[in-house]
Amino acid sequence: MAFLEIKDLRKAFGPLSVVQNFELAVEGGEFVSFLGPSGCGKTTTLRMVAGFEQPSAGTIRINGRDVTGLRPNQRNVGMVFQSYALFPNMTVAENVGFGLKVARRPAAEIGARVEEMLRLIKLPTLAGRYPYQLSGGQQQRVALARALAIKPQVLLLDEPLSALDAKIRVALREEIRSVQRKLGITTIYVTHDQEEALSMSDRIVVMNEGRVEQIGTPFEIYNYPRTRFVASFVGTLNILRARVTDAGQRRIAIDGQEIVARRGLDGTASGELRAVALRPEAVSLSDPGGERNRLQGTIEDVSFLGSVVRIRVRFKENAISLDTFNNPGLAPPEPGREVTVTFAYDDVLVLEGEAS
């Protein structure tokens, strides 16, 4: 049985349903991210695990124990907030030791644990400081130490890096992950930043409008998005409208030009309209030959992004962006030129649901 098990979880505020049929099993020591735009229900789900919100239906089990009806202070869960939420009237040491203090642990034990935690987050010298004397990044590390000090069964992080500068964000991201690995603690991480989710997680739960869109490893989510939403939210995909011309032969047509799609055509009928996705880095202007899809179009726009040149090629209704590496010896192509773009059969991702 999984360490953290969420079954058929629902939450509605009045007539408004914010989380629907949420199912998830997290293994012990796993790092799972909830990824989605704001208002997708990821934070509400996390708050139900923490006990701040009561689910309208469903159960939450931690280590075999049903915690659904328990109050937050009975769950033994650690949480890190976006706003740090450090107690302003306490020093760093008092903040970190707070959970043990209210549990009436002996002072010596608290002292030792606080010291251990501060070493873990590499801030052993700041024990006597007050939160307002710390930078945002330091405050969030202290908040992490405070959440871990009570040896929680599960660690919850609610957009912990959103309030920080880009540079600190990357550094802290790695630090959180390394602390998590070191302690082997089961972790749920809520974020709207796909790069964060991809780089940190063992698995990602992509959510939209209260529903789970896809659960998978970062590799699966990025390379094989199942729905149009996942495809567009994770990475910068080209979404094209295609008509299935021959489902058996796995052939589809984009603006009348036929191509082969190896994946995701099971259960479709010829003549159906489907959305397909193509990653910019999968599409090439050169033709290595062999079994590949080829599409003819016109260069519409060329933007120079530094190491990469992004080229936009239009067919008729559809257009795709593709990336080529910048080559100082070669001028970028001119708009208006007729070109052929090529990509592998495997790179065509046929998405679930009708093309809109």
Binding site: G99, K101, I150
Partner: protein, 292 residues
């Protein structure tokens, strides 16, 4: 442009800048600093203008001491009771989970009531709790209970304190509401998920965070009541010996028969309200530093 002319033009700019705030400082000097300073100096002078500590020493005669004492007592009682009740009202309005309309209603009413002081307030309490007031009469009529037989008298210490609460409580509500808003929901949640009970959260987090505002505002209420004249005068006439009424009588008719003793009386008042206000400002800065 030579260095000299640059320096001169910069100099010109500086003096112009000062001119912009000159009217304010002249006003402050004429109507705040000088009058207060005059009294403070006068408190240390005899009739001939020589330095003396006699006026201060004369403050320690029983009638003046008791006036100060009653003033301090009335102010302290009304400040502490006003702070406690006002705090619970503000708490109910902000964190009580009551219907939405309660809070703006409470705030508007507090704004009005905190400014409804002075003579009309005394009238209102006389009409309600005076010897022929509505509540007094109703108590006799329906409960056969004579309020005045219990020793209560609106024109006395307890009556004055009760009346002062009418502006003290709303003032507390007005100042504490933003302070309670400053308590972040995340703190409560963080405490709770770390295992703290609701009581432990208040004991270790919320009250320590609010403490400077609570104490500071109580001091502000104290100074507010201490300097009040009109309500007490209209309510009790001169039957209650409090320091503002004594000073009022002194200004009108030199009842102390000693001008400079009057200055010392005023100096004592400034000291008391000044100290409590300074403490208020100090405590306020402290809490602002936390709540940034």
């Amino acid at each position: 442009m030579t260095a000299l002319s640059i320096a001169r033009s910069r100099l010109g700019q500086v003096s112009w800048s000062w001119l912009g705030v000159a009217p304010f400082f002249v006003f402050a000097l004429m109507f705040l600093i000088l009058p207060t300073g005059f009294l403070m100096v006068g408190a240390f002078q005899d009739a001939g203008g020589n330095f003396t500590l006699a006026n201060i020493a004369h403050l320690f005669q029983p009638s003046i001491l008791s006036a100060y004492w009653i003033s301090i007592e009335v102010s302290a009682v009304s400040a502490i009771a006003g702070a406690v009740i006002g705090f619970f009202l503000a708490y109910a309005g902000v964190l009580g989970g009551l219907p939405r309309w309660i809070r703006p209603t409470l705030m508007t009413f507090s704004g009005v009531a905190s400014n409804f002081a002075g003579v009309p307030l005394a009238f209102a309490f006389l009409a309600t709790l005076g010897r022929v007031g509505l509540v007094t009469a109703l108590l006799v009529k329906y409960f056969d209970f004579n309020l005045y037989s219990t020793g209560f008298n609106l024109l006395s210490f307890s009556g004055l304190a009760l009346t002062y609460l009418y502006f003290q409580i709303p003032l507390m509500v007005l100042i504490m509401t933003p302070a309670l808003d400053g308590l972040k929901r995340d703190w409560r949640e963080a405490a709770s998920i770390l295992g703290a009970s609701s009581w432990q959260y208040w004991r270790h987090v919320a009250l320590p965070v609010l403490w400077p505002s609570l104490l500071g505002t109580t001091l502000l209420l104290f100074a507010n009541a201490f300097g009040a004249v009109a309500t007490a005068y209209a309510l009790t006439g001169s039957s209650l010996n409090i320091v503002t009424i004594l000073l009022y009588a002194q200004i009108r008719g030199d009842v102390l028969h000693d001008e400079n003793l009057g200055y010392a009386l005023a100096l004592g008042m400034i000291l008391i309200t000044g100290l409590s206000n300074l403490a208020y400002i100090w405590l306020r800065t402290r809490s602002e530093k936390w709540l940034r």
